[in-house]
Every structure is written in C-alpha cells, then in structure tokens.
Subunit: 333 residues, 2 copies
Amino acid sequence: MSSAKTFDLVCVGNAIVDILAEVEESFIAKHSLTKGAMQLVEPERAAQLYADMPRTVECSGGSAANSAAVLASLGGKAAFIGRVAADQFGTVFVHDMTAQGIAFASPARDHALPTGSSLIAVTPDGQRTMNTSLGCNVNFGSPDVPADIIEQARVVLLEGYLFDKPQSKQAFREALRYAKAAGSQVALTLSAEFCVHQHRADFLELLASGVDILFANEEELMALYKTDSWELAASKVDEHVKVAVLTRGAKGAVVRVKGQSPVVVPAAAVAKVVDTTGAGDAYAGGFIYGYTRGLSVAECGRIAALSAAEVISHLGPRPQVELAKLIAQPLAS
Amino acid sequence: MSSAKTFDLVCVGNAIVDILAEVEESFIAKHSLTKGAMQLVEPERAAQLYADMPRTVECSGGSAANSAAVLASLGGKAAFIGRVAADQFGTVFVHDMTAQGIAFASPARDHALPTGSSLIAVTPDGQRTMNTSLGCNVNFGSPDVPADIIEQARVVLLEGYLFDKPQSKQAFREALRYAKAAGSQVALTLSAEFCVHQHRADFLELLASGVDILFANEEELMALYKTDSWELAASKVDEHVKVAVLTRGAKGAVVRVKGQSPVVVPAAAVAKVVDTTGAGDAYAGGFIYGYTRGLSVAECGRIAALSAAEVISHLGPRPQVELAKLIAQPLAS
C-alpha cells in the first residue's frame, strides 16, 4: 500500500458520547429492549430510559470513532470525519479524539441539534444494549466530507450506522469516489442487523461500487444475503469484496481474502466480559492497523482479537491501556 | 436523634462533573500543578490543561454530593442542594443524584454559566490533582437554600469548598440557622487547606455558631488552628464541636467526641489505590450514615473507612458497588 499517505485510517461515522450504566437483567424486559441491539430513540423515549437508569459514566464512543481510537492506541495514524455540536458532549468527543492524536476533520459545529449520545445498558452478562439519540449526526452529508482528508487515507472506514439518510448515503458514495480516485482502499462495517434490513439494496450497491474490505458479524452477514445459513452467506461475500472480516463473537472470526483459503482467527481470552460495547469496532480498528502494515491475515486477526478482548474487559468502548504494548509479543510463526 | 426527619443527610455543596484522566507523573510539573490539591481555574487555563490531558471519562462528582452518594449507597436517605445549569453536564449531574434516590432540592436552572466541572489529573500513585471550573456554582446564595429541606435533615453537611463568596457564606449561615431551629445537626467539611487559609476567621465563626460535627484532614486542621502540630490542633477542636472526625490518610482517622477519649480508627485495606478522588467525601458520608443510626464511634469509623477504601480502588469519586452489602459484616466486638 502507498506509504505516501498521511493517515493509515480515515473513519467516517457518527460522533457519539456514550452514557453507560450497569443495569439489572430486568431492565431490558421492563423497557421492552432488544438485548444486544442498537436502537434509535427519540428525545421523549431517551428521557424515559435515562430516568430509570442507575448512575452512569460518560465517555466518547461512536463505532468508527472507536475503531480510530484503537488504531491510534496501536500506534497508527487516524483521522475522523463526523458531526458534533457546540456543546459539552461535543467538546468531550473532540478532546478524546485529539488527545489520541486523531485528526478531527470536521471542524464545523452544529448549533441546531446536540451532539449525539447513546444510553447504553450493560447487563450482568456484559452484553450492551444501546439506545442512541443521533442529535446533529442526522445532518451529516457531503459538505462534511473533505476530499483532501479522504485522499490521504490508506484505508477509509465507512460506518454502516451512518448510512441511513439520503444525504449521508450520498456522502458515503462521494467519500468512496474520492478514495478510489486517490488509490485509497475502502472498508465498510455493516454495524447492525437492522441497518442491513433497512438499507440492503443500497449496501449491496455500495459494496459493488468499490468497497475493498467488509466487516460483518453473523447476523449482519446473513441479513445481507437474505439467508439463515452463515456458511452460504460467507461463500457469497467474495463476489463483492477483496477482504471479508467475518466476526463470530466468542467463536472468533473468519477472514476471507479473495483467491485464498479462509483463515480462522480464534478469539483472545478474556478473564471476565464486563461490557461488549465497542468489541466489533475494536476488531475493525485492530485488523486495519495490521492490514495497513502489510501483516499476514493471521497477524491482523491476532491484533484485532487482542484489541477487542481489551475493550470488552472493562466498561466503555475504547482501550484503557496502550494497545501497542499489549500486542508487542508477536505471533509465533 | 429524631426519627421524624425525612432525610438522614442534606448536603449543601458545589455541583461538579468530574473529567478524569490518568496522566503521567510529568504532567503535574509541566503544568505547575500542586499534586493532591484542588485549584480553581479560569476558562483559558482549563482549556490549556484539557488540551494536554489524555482521554477522559466523565462522571458526577462534587465533594458533598459524593458524600450524599455514599450515604445513599449505604441505604440512607439523602438530599442535595446545589446549582446546575441547563446543559448536558447539568442533566448528567441531576440524573446521577436522582438515580440513587437522592432528592435534588434545587430545581432552579442557571442559564448564564455552565454546570461546574473539574479536570482531574490522576497520577500513577493514585493521587488526584483537581482543576475546577466552578461555572454556575459561583452564583450560589440564600435563594438556593430551601428551609423546608434543611429542616427535614437529621444532619446537614456544609461543603467548605462552597464557603467562598459573600453570598455563599451568607447562605451557609442561613442553612445553619434553619437547621438549629429545627433540631437538625450541622456538619462541616473544611475541604482543602487553601480554603482554610482564605476563610479561616469565617470558618471559626461558623464553627462557633453551632456546627456539631467537623471533618478535617491533617493539613486543614493545622491550618485552622495555625499550628504545625497536628496533636495541638486536635486538642483544640473540642472547644468548637461535639464531634471531630480527623482523617489522616493511610494512617486512618481519629474521632474526638467531646467528653470522651479519642477513638483511633484504622484505614481499611486497599489492594491498589487507583484514584483518591472522593476519599474524604466517602469517609464523611460513611461516618454520617452510622452516626444517624446511633452506631458506636468505632462502627461509624469502620463504615467510613470501608466506604473510602471502595472509592479509591477505582477511577471516579463515587461507589461502584452497593456499599450496604460491603459493610454488612458487622464489627467484631
């Protein structure tokens, strides 16, 4: 991959501040939530959920932003493109990006809507259930995508959650076009099963128009190919992308590189799963870190698995240790 | 103590959202900070410090508010009196109070200044160095103190940090007057050595006008009596209060009850001190919990020490477990 690029990774996604609480199992049923899912909530519903949540901690989140944080913690160079408002959560979000040396490439401040936030209920089993108020992220569009930043990316990561409104879809297509013209590779995360259900045709079109790397968990992949057989879905993905990183939770992941045999990557051991928030984001960030350094698929997977394991071992979606040190022990070959 | 009161504890203090970061030791010298201290910062200085801080987590703090959170976690009933603004940090602060069943007794929202926040640099030794932007707390005054809430307190806890401006001092005197008229006891924390240096005469006058319980660490107590002998200062405190809870960090505490022999309370064991933020606040909350239940001084001290130990074993100033369970094993007698 070209080494003349400024950034290993440029992420395009929702800017979100996470509001995390450890809840009892009964909280999920009481509020008719779908455990493990992300759902969008309107202000009234958010207020109702928040009022019933125990004490919280707040920290920066957002799927692609978490991937950028992981890549930066591994020692890579990242930029983030997304919308924040001129409010306290916006200040927090931008701080936590720049504090890790991540270029925050969207200085425009929204004054009509607040910075996005997500009420995250973490159950005793470590599962996270997210209730997201998108806030000013809903206004994301082409003007938010600076061509000169995209062109400086080895890999551009597009976050499926943001692929929702007509103007954000258009922005993704333009980002992809800037990237391809500049020789940057494009990665896409499907983000959530409901995103695939809602926008399946547009996702497939986006994949066909030049996505190089796909990140998908089991439900997302099966939704994409409208099948209840993961194996069948996995066999179809080579038609669309060069590299498919197919995560399978505690079972680890399968990485398919076009023209090569699939590589099974085991999950890394975790003493106790505290909070799965950000697990997939960390996996993507870790994998792309290795990928931009030309490492083997197995080594990319090892870094991804270790990154995800660190993130799920504590509350909050971003690494709490320097991942560069954590992965310093190379894979036995 | 009268059991007809609604609240075990009514706290009067600054409403603060903590912005916590684990920093290298060098951060303290680089920014000319006084390690372990709290200093007030203006917006420009706060921005400068924040820009140099690594990734942060945000959670509700404030000294007396932390004491209320500890008492509530132990199973007591608390209320909080303090000012927040109509912003995201204000929403977070009020949520975290009400989520613990703590009555938030100051519904008035400030629209001119933001909710107070504190940039807290936590060094590898677990010490916290606080840089506080008071925000709308500076406007605290008599109109913020509802007599009917004060009158429903077994104990009213006044936070020394807030005893700063003429209007807040006046508010404290009125709170004390309401309390005494209603048969409520009054506790005071000296909060920080610099507070005592700045307001020594007024603190002494407040003590003389009816404070029942004093919380002070070594530096604060010696500053109050202008001596470098802690023993000498401790011997003087009986002149002013019925109960003096004199904390000594890792050495534990000495509790002096007028007319009784001082009781030495050992500190509780902590596997690793992660962050001392809120240690003294937890001690006060735990002690008052026992005190309002008529427990022995030794038992009050045991609960206080266990509460403080829990709080310093993780990042952030408020308990992360239900303290009622933690203390359930009674003191061997």
